[in-house]
């Protein structure tokens, strides 16, 4: 990937955020609330969270909101009138300070939403998002980006990747044309990088397994019920893992309103929920949790790579941190690699 290296001085962060906000963009960045750090709209660099490994939720709601209006309907005397979303009114967003895993997480979402059906709302939102990510200097026991082909400094999915230097300033790698036009519009902030700029040490995330080998292994494990039962006995079947995951894209459609008018909404759903695959006939192909757990793993690490050429996981570890019963995905996947044939 062609990158263009610039220097962003630490004191320029304030001005950068100021300019982004003033230009009418919504800046979505990690902000502290109580014990947690999560993405919030911010207007000043003082609101940026410090000293944390990862946010609770992913920034995917910028392109795949938790609840999204698809269209409105009105029952007029001469028929039903549908009003589509005016994509021009969608907000311009900057995702600021996301981790490289989160930036990469937009790829599986894009693969799903532009696969056989081109999701217009998703595409419009993606076009309006600029990703300025921040390379990781620390990781915790839940992170495993390196096992899924990524790393704490990977520029995939970013428009600009910031890496903190030992001086406290930031090396800004301009990754895409969108990043370039942003940097070019603020040349007083994005200075030429000195040749000897030394990045501060990036986080150490030991590789636990090879994702290509995992994919191959999984293909042979579908019928090994005891593996899936053993791993999922403690799983409660909530949607926490799916909802905090940057790559999960399952959704439900809900119509709300009256016989006169209403709205069609799209909202998040989770394949971990017991009734997710309940058919109108009453049959449920994934009646028990082990089947749903197997689906989650196979979907992300076997079916998606096979059909969409992208993994459905970026190793951010959020699922495992958020899980009320400590379903540690890195641990489960490592265990899968150790299953005897």
């Amino acid at each position: 990937m062609d990158t263009n290296k610039k220097l962003l001085k630490s004191q320029s962060l304030k001005d950068l955020l100021g300019k982004l906000t003033q230009s009418g963009k919504t800046v979505y960045a990690p902000k502290r609330k109580g014990d947690q750090v999560d993405f919030q709209p911010i207007t000043s660099s003082e609101e940026l969270a410090q000293n944390y490994v990862q946010t609770v939720q992913s920034p995917k709601s910028a392109v795949f909101p938790r609840v999204e209006e698809l269209f409105r309907f009105r029952n007029n005397s001469d028929g039903v009138k549908l009003t589509e979303r005016d994509v021009k009114t969608l907000p311009d967003m900057v995702l600021f300070g996301v981790r490289p895993c989160d930036a990469a997480g937009l790829q599986p979402l894009r693969a799903i939403f532009t696969w056989d059906y081109q999701d217009a709302l998703f595409k419009s939102r993606m076009e309006k998002v600029t990703v300025i990510s921040l390379a990781c200097q620390s990781a915790d026991e839940y992170c495993f980006c390196t096992s899924v082909g990524l790393s704490p400094g990977d520029p995939t999915g970013s428009d600009i990747l910031l890496t903190k230097l030992s001086s406290g300033d930031f090396l800004a790698e301009i990754v895409t044309d969108q990043g370039k036009s942003l940097a070019d519009s603020m040349t007083e902030l994005f200075l030429p990088a000195p040749a000897d700029a030394k990045p501060a040490t990036l986080a150490d995330v030991p590789i636990k397994f090879n994702h290509e080998e995992l994919s191959k292994k999984l293909a042979s494990l579908f019928d090994r019920t005891e593996v899936w039962v053993g791993q999922s006995l403690r799983c409660l079947g909530c949607g926490a893992c799916a909802f905090v995951c940057p790559a999960c894209a399952c959704f439900d459609i809900q119509d709300e309103g009256t016989t006169h008018d209403g709205v069609r909404l799209r909202c998040w759903d989770s394949c971990g929920c017991s009734l997710f695959t309940l058919h109108t006939s009453g049959h449920n192909p994934r009646e028990v949790q082990s089947q749903r757990w197997r689906q989650r793993v196979m979907h992300k690490f076997s079916y998606m790579p096979e059909r969409l050429n992208v993994f459905g996981c970026v190793g951010c570890g959020r699922c495992s941190r958020a899980c009320p019963v400590d379903m540690n995905l890195k641990e489960h996947l490592t265990a899968v690699m150790e299953v005897k044939a």
Binding site: P65, R66, V67, E69, T258, L265
Partner: protein, 144 residues
């Protein structure tokens, strides 16, 4: 000067309060026109969600009314309802919903005058509280 006209939804039981409200009408007693009456077989049938849906659809106040204790047409429906409302009211209050917007009555089929009086009182109480804007805001917030 136009005054705010509250929208009141009344959930009433068929055998007592609905008949009582009928009596109010046949007795030609005038009372505030702000109330929309919804008839139930019994107050015991009233689900909490019905009240929340009424608020979501624009009600500023709610009346719930049924047979006096011991007079329930189904013997004990109103006793069950009473227990539920004792708890539900405290929940609403805890969550910051003004319970002065929800009024509970026992009005029998013979109490036509009481129905008029209670409706008028409810309308005035809710008029003073104003439109239930904070609940209306809930119905539109949180959608991207």
């Amino acid at each position: 000067m136009s005054s705010f006209e509250p929208k009141i939804v009344a959930f009433v039981c068929n055998w007592c309060t609905y008949a009582g409200a009928d009596l109010t009408g046949t007795s030609r007693i005038k009372y505030a026109p702000n109330v929309k009456v919804i008839r139930f077989p019994c107050t015991g049938r009233i689900d909490f969600m019905l009240l929340l849906k009424a608020f979501a659809r624009g009600a500023d106040g709610i009346i719930v009314s049924g047979c006096h204790p011991n007079d329930c047409h189904y013997t004990s429906g109103n006793f069950h309802a009473r227990r539920r409302w004792m708890v539900f009211r405290r929940l609403l209050d805890f969550l910051g919903i003004d319970v002065r917007r929800v009024h509970f009555f026992w009005i029998s089929a013979a109490e036509g005058a009481k129905w008029a009086e209670m409706v008028n009182e409810t309308v005035e109480t809710v008029r003073k509280l104003g439109p239930f804007e904070r609940y209306q805001k809930l119905t539109t917030a949180g959608v991207a």
